[in-house]
Assembly symmetry: D2
Homo-oligomer: 299 residues x 4
């Protein structure tokens, strides 16, 4: 298997819906056509920002298939294929492989939190990786799952030949630095799961980013990464810091509805979310607009 | 619609699996035949103890269909039909209605925790209840979901004609008492979601219980309820307290693997769990055995 | 040592301050003179509602001395004497003994949370109880300390001859029931640390209450206890439930400022709090007033 | 007032005790004599690692006085002077000023967590800073206090002329980056409160560190800082990463007992902790030793 580089910017793209909450595949094409012009390295499809938990299995597969069709060959399509059980995840990952996706992104199972200790998580990811036709990325997103993938489990799994990396959305750079250090001899890459701590993660060894903000600020984040790779931390910081407030607005503060509203403001197609997510209220939308202006993303 | 009473003991039954993790419908029959002899008032099928998040949609429906077929007509079959989105939940609830299930149990959506405020949750449950052919019970289980259904949302929803109650597995009797008080004029019933706080919940107005422990101690819990209803709190307490440790063992401490192991020890069919849940280790099994003996459930 | 009964209502009295934040001993007398007319069984002095963390050691001792002087001999004065270290707590407890206080209430040390495991807590309370001239009550108040005294530590300590009970402000009746059961043969009593779960705690074996709400609703809570002791749970419930919202208002919602504002509304002396606590804003005061009226405490 | 630079390494020194738990001032001299030879920029005295919550007020003042006497004039002595109330903190800060300390480090009040909103915290720190003869550093240490100083409160306070900075032990670089950005025009400096995320914090704008690990690895951390300041992030990372595990061992994992044990292993005086902290067990000590060896701090 040739090495897959996760160094780069891979926005987790939203799933566009029409007013009736059906998937708007034409709008997916519209957005991707535009993103394809931006200096991005690939796309995460069917991640948290893709409202994957609201999609049927067929929808999850079809969105990945369409994204793979539209994206240039040299851009990775990373397909969210995590379910709660090993057998479901394996089955869905196999279907994802048939779409041409490059990598499977497997979120931590989390419903039975009390049972998800290091042993259970290591066992689970080994089962999945052994059976997966696609290379596997672990996905830890405690803000959604209530479960922070233990560093020890990541370290144990990093040497598995079919596990290539971790998307860490927890943002604890102490933990990221420790994992990067302990897996330094493995073929294993860590990417920041949010743009808010991108530079902090890079500084301790992360190589890329899967930023919600990358859907609307991909060029800036690509520039940040390049500056860092060229050893210019001052330039990277000058890009990083003004983006934090905007990043928070389209992630923890206003969530996917915030991201979609920002996309609408910036000429992408955002559109509605599925219920129980709710569209932004008018005052929230105004707050978001002010933040985007302050951050330099909207004029 | 005639009144459906939730006063009673409704164990959340596990889904039995064979060694290959396929559903063992014959064992479901075996267990239900035995439970049907016990003083229970119905069954929750496809709840957290039923590993519903590990089942395909077809499996979820089929388990309910079989349980409804085997259970006596006068015992309620309460079908877990919650998904993350309103449209998914509505669709699954409609399928559940066709199995003959009596009530739909709808867990709080929780993946987008940050967005699940009172307004979003009230909107969601109204959508579901409006569209559901079955009466709806709200299901709050923060230990699994990381989300505690806000009292205010429950109070707002209690007057909806198609929402008949709440299964509260959080165990906060201050909150249960407040909700019972504020919904006292509504056709709304609260049931304790675990046997550990059953008497405490009854004391402030709960009417029944959906206890994992009811799968192995149904008669005792029925006796507790009867004693309480007869005004004999001392007798109820004498039953309640020795069961707490055993209850914890088959819930938060050892989870579904613990419940299934206890069932095996007591002559029911427990069997394996699906991965990533893991069977009890030998020392855990011994601890569980000692606790069951101490509690008087095993000799 | 004769048995000290903790069965009853023991309000944790606030420390009254003048406008300059100095202790208003005349107002302490004023309040106690009124409380002495109410069916209470004693007072907790220098607890969380007494703003003990804001008092100098001399102030802590003096408030207890004055309360003991004013309270009738047959009412217990329970003195908050907890500090972070064993040596500080022992020293302060000895000073409290000289005031004539009856019992020492010792909050869990909590600054070094990560180190406060069962072994450390058991060791700590044994040191304190061994050295204390006063019988000791353990005080667990996770809302303030961020530390929930483990049930196992309580069970281990219950047999110490100088540890007579636990004030549990966590409100988890599963845990309270377990502790009551496992200490049933010890000379050990559990009291509810808040009125919100008083009946729930009684139902599983608590014997009394240390309710902030007892400062303004002592007679009602005494009536609740009497009804329960007479086996009339329905009557107890009829008192309990309408008080929950008011209880929350003077505890977790508005805190000590809320309690003091309620006391002012009801003819006691509430007065200011010490900074960084802040007095209620006008709209909060109005909300509080409406809640007190709704609960039947204010007309 | 001349500018005080917080750029540098300022270890939070432990308070040495004899076997009887009395302060060992001779050992304080011994340790400081050695630290004075290391490339450090000052000392935090009476912080969390100084077990300040276990010291009497007189002890807190005396330890600072002695440290100030022993430390060279060009090294800052930063005195922990936080208490729970504004009046206590102001009084203790005034006493600290008389010892010759350079800066007052004021931990967030935290006992009444529910009341510690942005308004209350801003009001509190303004009162303290207005009255303090010493420049004030805010100290946020959620692992101990259970309270994470809100970014908005820090931003509001940064322009106060007597508030010079923040020690942030939470380690959230998204938050640190945001605060650094929003206070970029103020005379306000942020220091990392732990060595685990030092480089991550530097990358977004922190200027120094108050590392427990600095008591045993000051030279390495000074080298890390210098490399970063020279724009050599690769060199900084090469120092940072192998220290993370050791840092965790002397902070969140084994706490002050771990730090003191490590000091004993490395030729400083560690000695006993005060109860309820407990000395390391033998197996913990061996684990710690292995970690120190692995990290290159012990051979």
């Amino acid at each position: 298997m040739s090495h897959i580089s996760l160094s780069g910017i891979f926005p987790p793209i939203p799933t566009p819906f029409n007013a009736d909450e059906e998937i708007a595949f034409d709008r997916l094409q519209f957005n991707l056509d535009r993103w394809n012009q931006e200096p991005l390295n690939g796309y995460v499809v069917g991640g948290s920002n893709g409202e994957f938990v609201f999609l049927s299995l067929d929808e999850r597969v079809e969105v990945v298939r369409q994204a793979r069709r539209i994206a240039p060959r040299d851009r990775l399509v990373i397909a969210g294929s995590g379910m709660e059980s090993a057998r479901q995840t394996i089955e869905l990952t196999r279907r994802m492989a048939q779409t041409g996706a490059d990598v499977a992104l497997v979120v931590t199972p989390n419903y039975y939190k009390a049972g998800m200790n290091v042993a259970a998580l290591v066992h689970y990811y080994r089962q999945v990786a052994d059976a997966s036709p696609l290379p596997v990325m672990i996905y830890s997103v405690p803000g959604n799952t209530g479960l922070d993938m233990p560093a020890q489990a990541v370290i144990d799994l990093a040497r598995h030949p079919n596990i290539i990396g971790l998307k860490d959305s927890g943002g604890d750079v102490t933990k990221i630095g420790l994992m990067a250090h302990e897996t330094r001899d493995a073929d294993f890459q860590i990417v920041a799961g949010s743009a808010g701590f991108f530079l902090g993660a890079l500084s301790v060894g992360a190589v890329g980013c899967v930023p919600a903000l990358g859907n609307i600020a991909g060029a800036k984040l690509a520039e940040l990464l390049k500056a860092f790779q060229h050893g210019d931390v001052d330039a990277a910081r000058a890009i990083q810091r003004p983006l934090i407030e905007a990043n928070t607005a389209v992630t923890s503060r206003f969530g996917v509805p915030g991201l979609k509203a920002a996309m609408d403001m910036l000429g992408y197609y955002g559109g509605p979310v599925r219920s129980p997510l709710m569209p932004l209220a008018d005052d929230e939308r105004e707050t978001l607009r002010r933040i985007l202006i302050k951050s330099g993303l909207l004029s």
